[in-house]
Amino acid sequence: MSSNNIVVENLTFQYPGGDEAVLRDASVTIEPGEFTAVVGGNGSGKTTLCKTFNGLIPHFFEGTFDGRVTVAGTDTRESDVAELSKTVGYVFQDFENQLVQETVRDDVEFAPLNHGLDDYAERATRALETLGLDHLEDRFIWELSGGQQHLVALAGVLAMDPEFIFVDEPAAQLDPRNARETYEQLRRLNEERDKTIIVIEHHSEFIADYCDEMVLVSDGGVAWKEPVEVGLNRLDDLLAHDIHPPQVTKIADGLPSEAGTLPDGRYPVTVDEAATAFQPATTCESRAAVDGGAVTTLGADTDDAPTDRGQDGDALVTMRGVGHGYPTLREGYNRVLDGLDLELHAGDRVALVGANGSGKSTLLRLLTGLESPDQGSVTVLGRDTSETLPEQLADDTVYIHQNPEEMFVEDTVRKDVAYYLENRDAPNVNERVDEILAYLDLEHLADRDGRLMSLGQQRRASLGIGLATDPTVVLLDEPTGSLDLQSRREVTGMLRKAESRVETVVVASHDLQLVAAWANRVLVMGDGEVLADAPPAAVFSDPDLLAETDLRQPQVVELSQRLGLESPALSTDSMCETLARSLDGDGVADGGVGDVGGDAESDGGTR
């Protein structure tokens, strides 16, 4: 079985028409049975590297190819894509476009049929059953949720029973829960069916929880391949490539000398490990709390409620008894919102959280006026949305689409940012556009087509389009889906900058780290209404509520609970501070730990 691996030797590759080689002298070996994560910054060549495994390079992209790639003993140059795909299955980042047939079963049968395999039906059945999709086999692809589509793409790959399964950024276009579901399935395939799994991944928390090996691709070469615990401890390397280390690792790194290390001298990478590593610190902390009789304030929840929120002022947005839904093909009318009442005030930084289909996006669309509520009324800045055109509401409201591609209507970023201003005959359009482009670091991309940029760049451009409208109410749908360190910092920065002129911001998000760090009001959606309306710390310290709505606590909150802290820390910095204080034996609470905002800034900014 020694030849049953993937060996890349001194590979250099340049795309036809490219200016320089994308891969330079890269060498790596993937052993059978591994669960490997490939990480690297944008444009480092990690996707290109992985496309050599199934022969897309050099057979589909014919460039300058030097070196050798051997898959299970076969030189990829002497085989072809279809043949290699029997050994190496590939799930694309853009998996939606990988599904080419209209129903689930047809799509899963597609590859075995193409290869003329008699047992195509059994293969499809087995693949669907493995992933628990058998009840969906007659559904149309377009009826499925993103998470289900991803699993169908995976099933299509499994139908060929490949030894290696390669998944490009599963967490990029899926929400955290679905991404976790995909990872659970991949883990089962790895453990029970002995598949070798290779993922490209930005999110180090998934890497820590599921993978066992880690490859860092840097500048077209393979910088190193290490076991995950070792790789995630190389914080400098990770940060240099814009990869978030897990929160617990960051906390350990923030503690004074060796205080947060495991017995073997490295930092923890999972919550389990962290709970062990930090245990000594907290025993001391709880003792201090008991002794001192004072409860240490960890989050910033206590000091923001009455002062920060303009509860008493006039409401900017009012929703009264709002019911709304959509007709569906199979299930008739699907009611998404039911009797929802809500008021938003100036100064609110609202995070909408909740499971898929709980109505977050519907609520935002109702606020834009693109849809009018089936029942009840929605008033935005004194205007009833049922009687106002969305174009008029857009004078003061901006909606930033979940999928930035839908916001690009022109062929360059500059024209897209200017579109709103020019349509409304704003003065000094060019200057204002220049200012926004400079602020979001988009100047070098200004003349490119938004659609052809990376997802992170697209997101930034869509924020620019939103900022250009100079709004009072900002509505953001999933602004941090698939963001790397750099881009999340920009979203937080934009939100912060916007605060000076914007009166209220509503963010629908699965990114609980962002919610914890930025919001002062969390609306938990479920059953067509608002289940909870509270400051972040209160929501995060209610595990039952979170479980009910498919949310997962940020590591730092989970860790707080595991350590038995009275109220959860919301950012790594406040956690560090608490732990450090208890280490010093100084158990007396000397006031709160600053406001949430400051924490968030340093969360990304101190590095």
Binding site: L113, F140, E391
Partner: protein
């Protein structure tokens, strides 16, 4: 519920779902239960049959039958209504247009008869002749209007000649709507494949079905993006025509980004097709055989074809 309410309550989403149902919900459709090859051949046959009839009555009966078939095939009521509306307005248009053209021709004739005097009047600039020219033009217009208002029966006669033609077109449209919306794309491509249509084409049809809903959604999202960043015309004009004209312009503009997005999607699709062995399967007989297996012409297929032919024969004989 009042009909007026039903009409004004139609939303974009309702129409979208109804069209989706037409295109995708085929499980109970009558035509979907037959062998696809039989249905395809039957369709070809019924594209020809209406042209063998020349009278209004048998054609009307055939049309009624076609509508019944469409109803059994769950064709969207909006689509049928649109089709019917199109044909009716077409006929109405001719009723109005024929006398109008007649009137115009009459007026031009009158002018032509007096052309020399009109030209003279204009050339000389003589006031007397000029006035006379005015009279001639007025008389021409008068005669035109007279012809147009008194020749309704001519218009109706002209339309009468056209009605069978419209009926034939409508029958064919309704039948093809019924067939292509009732048959599932899998069955359709299977049947076509067996009849020797190249795989590339049948795949394109199946792929089109797969992508269509996605494109509809994306198009809608793009229009919404445009709306949120545009300004409505301040004056809406008579019947809000400026507003509708603005919406129309947006909906045309939105095609441009849509085409780019489609092009971008297809890059990944082409790569994925390669990994799924599509190009390898094109010449592969084993793959072709597996794809078209399990089709069988049964008694009910034959009954359907002969039954419908018998119906046509009966119409032929009894009308």
């Amino acid at each position: 519920m009042k009909y007026v309410d039903a009409f004004t309550d139609i939303s974009v989403t309702d129409i979208k779902v109804d069209l989706m149902r037409t295109a995708y919900d085929n499980e109970d459709a009558l035509l979907n239960s037959f062998d696809p090859r039989v249905v395809l051949l039957w369709t070809v046959l019924f594209m020809i049959i209406p042209w063998l009839f020349y009278d209004t009555l048998p054609l009307a009966i055939l049309l009624a039958a076609a509508f019944a078939l469409a109803a059994l095939s769950q064709v969207s009521k909006y689509l049928l209504a649109l089709l019917l509306f199109g044909q009716v307005t077409n006929v109405g248009f001719f009723v109005v247009l024929v006398p109008l053209i007649g009137g115009a021709i009459r007026a031009v004739e009158h002018l032509g008869d007096n052309a020399a005097r009109v030209v003279e009047g204009v050339m000389t600039g003589d006031v007397g002749v000029f006035a006379e020219t005015g009279t001639i033009v007025a008389a021409a217009v008068g005669q035109g209007i007279h012809t147009a208002t008194t020749s309704q029966e001519v218009g109706i006669d002209a339309v009468g000649a056209l009605v069978p033609f419209f009926l034939k077109l409508t029958i064919i449209s309704v039948i093809s709507l019924a067939v292509f919306s009732a048959m599932s794309p899998q069955k359709l491509s299977k049947g076509m494949l067996r009849l020797g249509v190249p795989r590339q084409l049948t795949f394109a049809i199946a792929y089109g079905y797969r992508m269509m809903p996605l494109l509809v959604e994306e198009y809608h999202a793009l229009i919404n993006s445009f709306r949120l960043r545009s300004k409505v015309p301040e004056k809406q004009g008579l019947f809000r025509w400026r507003y509708f004209y603005y919406l129309l312009r947006l909906s045309v503009k939105a095609f441009y980004p849509l085409i780019f997005n489609v092009a971008k999607r297809s890059r990944v699709t082409v790569e994925a097709m390669e990994t799924k062995g599509f190009s390898r399967s094109l010449g592969d007989e084993q793959s072709q055989a597996l794809r078209t297996e399990g089709m069988m012409i049964r008694t009910r297929d034959v009954t359907f074809v002969f039954g419908s032919l018998l119906f046509v024969a009966a119409v032929w004989v009894f009308t």
